[in-house]
């Protein structure tokens, strides 16, 4: 065996033992850090030694607390992401936006009506939209943000609610809009109006709420509250899963 082949074998054996971790360079507020590739932006920032007190919540892509703006080394475009959901790439210049100032209109949903101008009267600034689509391009959830604002503007509450459904209120759109619109509050109002006034109310839910309020489950709840952790776990593991039950019945 030649020395070269020997070396190659040794190298391969080595690689099998300790998988090579590639390292990427990221920049946190302008300072360079070397972090293992494959980490999420959030994990990478922590790996670099930061402790996240804000700009971090659910770590699961739901809360919208971890909005991140980045630009890659030589790229013209700015990017927007959730730190807990996006993996680091070499040359990322990162900044966290833990909070977005965006005042919310005050209303009692019970006092509102789902009419064409309801949203416009609460958020008149939506009429300033110039359809630049910057909001859509800034949304880490890939929501058609401009179109939900446009539907709110034309009084199509149901459509605005539908299009904004996946909004996690991260606020990136509101930070970028040249018309200073507070998109996510607009979407939220649309969904609230739709839920309360437009969609048909679920009869099952109504029935169940009445049962709950009538005290039908009080005894069961009391029993649960009195149980030990072990008992609860046992009960949980033995629970009947509806989908499974249905499948069985089908067989």
């Amino acid at each position: 065996m030649s020395t070269e082949a020997n070396n190659e074998a040794a190298r391969q054996a080595n690689a099998a033992d300790t998988p090579e971790v590639s390292i990427v360079n990221i920049f946190v507020m302008g300072k360079r850090y070397q972090v293992p590739a494959g980490l999420t932006i959030m994990a990478a920032i922590e790996y670099a030694g930061y402790q996240l007190i804000r700009a971090c919540g659910c770590r699961a892509g739901f809360c919208g607390a971890c909005s991140t703006v980045y630009r890659k080394d030589d790229e013209q475009k700015l990017h927007f992401a959730l730190a807990c959901q996006t993996t680091v790439e070499d040359g990322m210049y990162l900044v966290q936006i833990p909070f977005v100032p965006a005042s919310k209109a005050k209303y009692m949903i019970e006092d509102l009506k789902a009419e064409e101008n309801t949203i416009l009267s609460m958020y008149p600034e939506i009429a300033r939209c110039v359809s630049c689509n910057t909001c859509t391009k800034s949304c880490p959830q890939d929501i058609k943000v401009m179109m939900y604002i446009q539907n709110a503007l034309r009084g199509d509450i149901a459509k605005a609610a539908e299009l904004s459904f996946d909004c996690i209120q991260c606020g990136m759109c509101a930070m970028r809009c040249p018309a200073d619109i507070k998109h996510y509050h607009v979407g939220q109002l649309a969904r609230r109006l739709r839920g309360k006034y437009i969609d048909t109310q679920s009869q099952d839910l109504k029935k169940r709420v009445a049962e709950v309020e009538g005290g039908q489950y009080d005894k069961e709840i009391e029993e649960l509250v009195g149980m030990s952790e072990e008992q609860l776990r046992g009960l949980y593991n033995k629970r009947e899963i509806e989908a499974k039950k249905k499948k069985k019945e089908g067989e």
Partner: protein
């Protein structure tokens, strides 16, 4: 014929009756308006007074949407939407530089191929159908109705996007004649209604509504017929306000041309949604036995 239809926000909110009556008319004439799958606010005319390209994005985006749907024409009822869309369409035809800047900004969208024509519904009636032919479809002539056609500004200015002569327009008068009404002509037909001042300066707009309507009345008109939702709001709603400013003044009814056309074509009065008007237009129609 299927026509691609650009609605605009106003006909979906405060001017629904314009859309409803317009749809009834087009159906009766054997055509079909198909609403664009995706559209945004036209950007409104006033936004173009700022000479920044940003405000051409909204109209341009709509023109691109029309191209996406493979159409070469969009039809709209609203004078302001028509005006804005036409102005941008013209701007990108005339300035290659502006066109490039806009296209570069919209880097995720298809480039506009400049293939779309913007048509006001009135132009469709005049140029594609023809008033002479329209006259033959009239089942209930508006006999005895003395009406001043009112044009306002946005269908006539700027000249480059006007659908008729800016000083001596006739399109509404010609339509009225085809419908069998008596045209009352006054110089106030092209007087500005006050437009957006209606938001901040309600009295100013009310006084303008008074001047225009009073001129119509003095010349013997019982009503005014117009096309623009903004003018309609100012003459109808602010005109009613004027009753509080001018002793003994009574605002005359304001009709959209689509409403009178619907009635003349023998369509049900329901299609006009007159209940949304401030000054009730029904008594005059009953008096003249149109309904």
């Amino acid at each position: 014929m299927d026509l691609l239809y650009y609605p605009g926000c106003t006909v979906k909110t405060s001017a629904k009756c314009l859309e409803t009556s317009g749809f009834a008319v087009i159906k009766a004439l054997g055509h079909n308006l198909v609403e664009m799958e995706e559209w945004n606010c036209c950007g409104v005319v006033a936004s173009l007074t700022d000479d920044d390209l940003m405000h051409h994005l909204a109209p341009l985006r709509n023109l691109i949407h029309a191209e996406d749907q493979g159409q070469e024409k969009i039809v709209t009822f609203c004078d302001m939407c028509g005006n804005t869309l036409k102005q941008t369409n013209l701007r990108v035809q005339e300035s290659e530089e502006d066109f490039d800047t806009l296209n570069n900004f919209m880097d995720q969208e298809e480039d506009y191929k400049k293939s779309v024509d913007v048509q006001h519904f009135l132009e469709f009636l005049r140029d594609d159908i023809g008033f002479a032919k329209l006259k033959k479809s009239v089942k209930k002539p508006l006999k005895g109705m003395k009406i001043m056609p009112y044009y306002g500004c946005t269908m006539l200015r700027p000249r480059e996007v006007a659908i008729d002569d800016a000083e001596e327009p006739t399109i509404l008068a010609d339509l009225l004649k085809a419908l069998g009404a008596e045209v009352i002509d006054t110089p106030y037909k092209i007087e500005c209604c006050g437009s957006y001042h209606t938001i901040e300066q309600k009295d100013l707009t009310a006084k303008r509504a008074y001047r225009i309507s009073q001129a119509a009345k003095d010349a013997g008109a019982d009503a005014i017929m117009l096309s623009c939702p903004m003018c309609k709001f100012n003459l109808d709603y602010r005109g009613k306000d004027a009753e509080k400013i001018f002793d003994g003044y009574k605002q005359i009814p304001i009709y959209y041309y689509t409403q009178l056309l619907a009635l003349a074509l023998g369509l049900d009065v329901e299609n006009c949604e007159f209940e949304s008007h401030t000054v009730d237009p029904i008594p005059l129609l009953k008096e003249k036995k149109v309904i």
